[in-house]
Subunit: 242 residues, 2 copies
């Protein structure tokens, strides 16, 4: 029942539960709006209150968790409005990061991008066999590919912002997959995008990236509208007295 990722014991419990919680939220093993009771999390992750609350505070700053004074934490709510806001902002941020990256990228960047694409396309094939069981691996390769695109942008600040928005978007994607199955086979899209990037066709790459995000938005928004029940009022109330 508890999360799978066994962490190397060289980390502090704090760091360990932070990455586990983040992962559980992004993949919607912890559903949007779900209450995060300290006692329940203590049991789930097997540790005391301190590291858990510390991790939750950090995730609050990242926007994955919300805290109401004296009422505790819950997973951030999802909504059409914030999905659209998120994706709109993502497009702007990635546009800038991509432009900078194409201006600065050298041979190393090109090599890493090619590598990331290769891993992603392989992973896609594997997934087609295993259905959507281990799509966690795909998700990681997918994230890596998009990170590789902007890796040469030269701005740690911009990259950090981009990564955070990508994570938030990933949560919506996970939610969509849960109700409607895998989004679509977009190996082609990624390949096009990579080619434009490697050829330094800046405006084309930016436009492809924008379309890539917009297509995801449409798909996710649709399944969010359809599967309204999911994610709304999920374990919203307090534990019933026996």
């Amino acid at each position: 029942m508890s999360s799978s990722l066994a962490k190397s014991n060289s980390q502090t419990l704090n760091a360990s539960v932070l990455s586990q919680l983040r992962s559980d939220i992004i993949t919607c093993r912890l559903m949007p709006n779900e209450r995060l009771r300290v006692e329940a999390l203590r049991e789930r992750y097997g540790m005391g209150t301190s590291p858990i609350r510390e991790a939750l505070m950090r995730l609050e700053a990242e926007g994955l968790v919300e805290l109401e004074q004296n009422k505790g934490f819950r997973v951030s709510e999802v909504s059409q409005a914030s999905l659209r806001d998120l994706m709109r902002t993502r497009i702007e941020i990635e546009t800038i990061a991509l432009r900078w990256s194409l201006e600065n990228g050298g041979v190393e960047w090109e090599a890493n991008l090619l590598g990331a694409f290769h891993r992603l396309s392989r992973q896609t094939k594997i997934d087609r066999v295993n259905s959507d069981a281990i799509s966690g691996a795909w998700s990681r390769e997918h994230a890596d590919f998009h990170a590789a695109l902007v890796a040469a942008c030269g701005s740690p600040t911009m990259m950090a912002i981009r990564a955070r928005l990508f994570e938030q978007a990933d949560r919506y994607v996970a939610l969509s997959i849960m109700s409607n199955g895998p989004l679509r086979d977009d190996v082609g899209e990624h390949k096009q995008l990579m080619r434009a990037a490697l050829n330094r066709e800046v405006e084309k790459a930016i436009e492809l990236n924008r379309l890539h995000i917009m297509r995801t938005l449409d798909k996710v928004a649709a399944s969010l509208a359809a599967g309204k029940a999911i994610g709304e009022n999920h374990m919203t109330g307090r534990k019933r007295t026996p």
Copy 2:
């Protein structure tokens, strides 16, 4: 010696120490790179370890604090490189937010902007009398003015990013003021910027904003280069044994 802001007791200690710490870091009452020992902070803010560590974790996500595993927290380091990265990113973000805000802003937005400018210009006058003693008040009005500019941008995500970057920049400004005194009298700059915004002269407002940030960057970068000693190696070592 401890921070002045007396917090209303309706907040949790956690929320209280969070805002105090954030303020102390942004104003450089806690200097860049200064170690943040839990015991010292316990004394400074008068509470136990839990709320303090929770606040520190949150500030780490905001980029004001850095955590090294098993070695504790310290105020984030400052550097020419990260200053330039920060300002460059700020320009891009504020450009987008400003554009959206000028597209969407209604009468309410205009009124609030005028009000914010009025308070800022009044505050500037008061400050000229009291030297740089209570420049904290000016800093607040200044932040409010820039927030008012983009308040109609319609994107909570973009506004949150902008606010965070502004805070980070404010820390550099505070550092600069500490060594070189008040930056400059930029009432005129703010007035120009407001007028362009109210007249919906989008490109002009964006350019003025860019110049506003660039001028600040130049000034701050210069005093950072000059006063190298400040902020470097400040209480960097471990407490000496008696």
